[in-house]
């Protein structure tokens, strides 16, 4: 099995890198939209991801307790998304809106405080212990494995990863439709380019802000649920750990550019995993212990050489 062509590279480096990249990409979309439209780095984004995953777990547990059937996390995520969107509205109303006309640093600090509040709230409500999202281990999809074996490649992809790939593609397609074809999407892009100009042309900025939270909230929830599906457990710092790579992805793609966030997320995810591949000789190119450093190295180099990012976002 280990001898199949590219077996190790594809299954242990490329595919995990893509899975991680998809999760980063979805999280980075929300960050980049908030950054572009509301003009601040939302530190609470990772915690809202985590909270979305916890809510999804709770809804799954309630359905199992009441009806006695186990629902798939992606179905339970639909009612959870409503709660998450309201959480985004609520944090905006009480913690970000009062600072909207103030210096950016104030609202950034408010989001930092929100991050700590949300994490502590989760620890109070659900406890500091890990929760099992899906027990057991995920075996690779047997059909895909035998089919690819016939053509001499052998792909080991568990169903959860196939769902993550498919889900991310659906989200990106829907997002691009919303941003390019709908009125509110065009308004969002207009506000991102210049809020004052958008305001004088009669765009309802408050409505745009609400739309931003909805899109960002749904993407954050999807990222949180996909992350929980991948690692199969829930714990209270899971969102925070993703936050910095997601910022790196948003900056790499260009602030305010959703496609940039997707590309940035995939690049960061792949770079982290592929940096440990034994490109030269049999030793890992970079010890896997330093994977996270790769994301930041890319971010720092990008900020120095091309601060507007790959997709010509805003530079500060």
């Amino acid at each position: 099995m280990w001898d199949a062509f590219g077996f190790e590279f594809v299954n242990f480096y490329l595919i995990p890198g893509l899975v991680l990249g998809c999760i980063y990409a979805l999280g980075a979309i929300g960050i980049t939209l908030t950054f572009g439209i509301l003009r601040f780095a939302n530190f609470a984004h990772g915690e809202l991801m985590m909270m979305g995953a916890y809510l999804t777990w709770t809804i799954m547990a309630i359905i199992t307790a009441v009806i006695g059937i186990t629902v798939h996390p992606l179905i339970a995520a639909i009612p959870a998304s409503i709660v998450v969107i309201y959480l985004f509205f609520w944090t905006d109303k009480f913690f970000y809106k009062p600072f909207r006309k103030a210096d950016t640093i104030k609202v950034v600090m408010a989001s930092f405080g929100m991050m700590l509040i949300l994490r502590s709230a989760v620890q109070v409500i659900w406890g500091p212990n890990q929760l099992t999202f899906v027990p057991g281990i995920a075996k690779p999809n047997a059909g895909l494995m035998s089919w690819t074996d016939d053509i001499g490649a052998i792909l080991l992809i568990p169903n959860k990863h196939l769902l993550i790939f498919a889900g991310t593609i659906v989200f990106v397609v829907v997002l691009s439709y919303i941003l390019n074809r709908t009125r509110i999407g065009k308004a969002m892009r207009a506000v991102s380019d210049s809020p004052d100009l958008a305001h004088v042309t009669g765009i309802d900025v408050d409505q745009v802000i609400r739309a931003t939270w909805i899109v960002g909230g749904v993407c954050a929830l999807a990222a949180g649920v996909f992350l929980a599906m991948d690692i199969q457990l829930l714990e209270t710092t899971m969102g925070f750990r993703m936050l910095l790579p997601m910022f790196a992805a948003a900056i790499l793609g260009g602030i305010g550019k959703p496609y940039g966030a997707v590309a940035g997320g995939l690049i960061i995810g792949l770079a982290e995993e592929l940096s440990a591949y034994p490109w030269i000789g049999t030793e890992p190119l970079l010890s896997p212990g330093y994977k996270t450093g790769v994301a930041f190295a890319i971010m720092v180099v990008m900020l120095i050489l091309r601060p507007q990012g790959l997709f010509k976002g805003r530079s500060f």
């Binding site: 890990q130 027990p135 995920a138 209270t236 995993e273 890992p284």
Partner: protein, 397 residues
């Protein structure tokens, strides 16, 4: 002048508060990667305090023995914050805890040692703690150093017929140290370490780590905390069929592992932990007390936590005051011979002997708790395997 008066009043108030109660600080990793393991340990600390207060409290006046708990989160930064507050604001007499080695070393080096406060850790087992002090005698622990556990684990692996193994350890003080001891002992015992890599805790995926190591052996020695990547790494290893046999130490020994990964996948998994010899009379006394209070007597580091709390209280009682200076010397005196043997829970007896000017020697639930020159204790270890869906421990002789 007014300010000075105010300050004096404040100091006087603080002094009265200190005279009314004896307060010790208890930083524990209530949140972080191992909350499951820590919850019963915290219960054991509270149980010891309850026994002390039930049986006459502290000193002649029967003052309350108070445990002020803080969250050290198994994290060096959080531990430094928590202990700074305990020492400077709560003005505690001594520190019982923290749980994790990295947290213990960080708080001792930057807070408790400079302040001259005794740290009595309940479970920190890194060999680095033995040698961290230079000229002071302030850091003690009631759990055995991994310098012994790593060797016990290596012997166990050899005894189980494992001759080659890949090692993966989380990059922190505890896991890196025990991995080092294990690798050295394993090679010395005739085994081959095929690969030895650090991994970064708390990543979403360890597939590339597992692939890098998995090409070299089917056996993995995993040193990690279950809550910060250990479970994910094991799951990734099983999913990709890179490894089938796992060995490891205390950080992974949690019911959480069985619940998450499934007992059916853990057939050839063995984790060691610091254990107590259940045949001693001290353990018997402890077990009766723990069972009565619904505390799991044999869980990892639970008896050690009780011992640490009891020893700290005995040391303060023997010193005659909650003054920080005398506690280290007094701790050595109450824990070692000569003296009348004191078993867990025998607070009234110990108090009477000390009041009469006698000497005592506490024999703990987790072992005899005789501190050596480095403030370390000897220990025994058990190996745990999954039997009928739960961890079953067996003492290694």
């Amino acid at each position: 002048m007014k300010k000075l008066l105010l300050a004096n009043t404040a100091i006087a108030l603080l002094a009265t508060a200190a005279a009314a109660d004896v307060t010790v600080g208890n930083p524990m990793a209530m949140t972080g990667p191992i909350p499951d393991l820590v919850a019963p340990m915290a219960k054991a600390v509270d149980l010891a305090a309850a026994h002390i207060n039930e049986q006459g409290g502290m000193f002649a006046g029967g003052e309350m023995f108070k445990v002020e708990r803080a969250d050290s989160a198994c994290d060096p930064t959080a531990a430094v914050d928590a202990v700074t507050k305990l020492i400077n604001v709560s003005n505690v007499a001594g520190i019982i805890g923290p749980v994790c080695s990295g947290a213990t070393i960080a708080q001792a080096e930057s807070v408790s040692m400079p302040a001259g406060v005794v740290t009595l850790s309940v479970s920190a087992s890194s060999p680095a703690i033995s040698t961290m002090e230079d000229g002071t005698d302030l850091v003690f622990r009631t759990a055995a150093s991994d310098a012994y556990q790593g060797v016990a684990l290596a012997d166990l692996a050899i005894a189980n017929g494992i001759t080659e193994i890949a090692v993966s350890y989380a990059n922190d003080d505890y896991n890196a140290a025990i991995a080092g001891v294990f690798s050295e002992a394993f090679v010395a015992a005739g085994g081959t370490v095929t690969a030895n890599e650090a991994h970064e805790p708390s990543k979403a995926s360890y597939r590339s780590e597992v692939a890098t190591l998995g090409a070299t052996s089917d056996n993995l020695a995993l040193f990690a905390y279950y809550g910060s990547g250990g479970i994910t790494l094991m799951r990734n290893a099983l999913e990709t069929a890179a490894f089938d046999t796992f060995i490891g130490a205390d950080g992974m020994l949690s019911d959480e592992v069985i619940e998450q990964i499934g007992a059916e996948n853990l057939g050839s998994t063995t984790f060691t932990t610091s254990a107590s010899d259940a045949s001693t009379s001290a353990f018997g006394a402890w077990k009766a007390l723990a069972d009565a209070a619904d505390v799991p007597a044999s869980d990892p580091f639970v008896p050690n936590s009780y011992d640490a709390t009891f020893l700290m209280a005995l040391a303060i009682e023997a010193a005659g005051s909650a003054d920080r200076d005398g506690i280290a010397a007094s701790l050595r005196a109450v824990a070692t011979a000569p003296g009348e043997i004191i078993l867990p829970g025998e607070w009234a007896k110990a108090k009477a002997i000390l009041a009469a000017g006698g000497e005592i020697n506490y024999e703990g639930a987790a072992g005899n708790q005789d501190f050596d020159g480095n403030g370390d204790v000897a220990g025994e270890f058990s190996k745990s395997t999954v039997v009928d869906g739960a961890w079953a421990a067996e003492l290694i002789k």
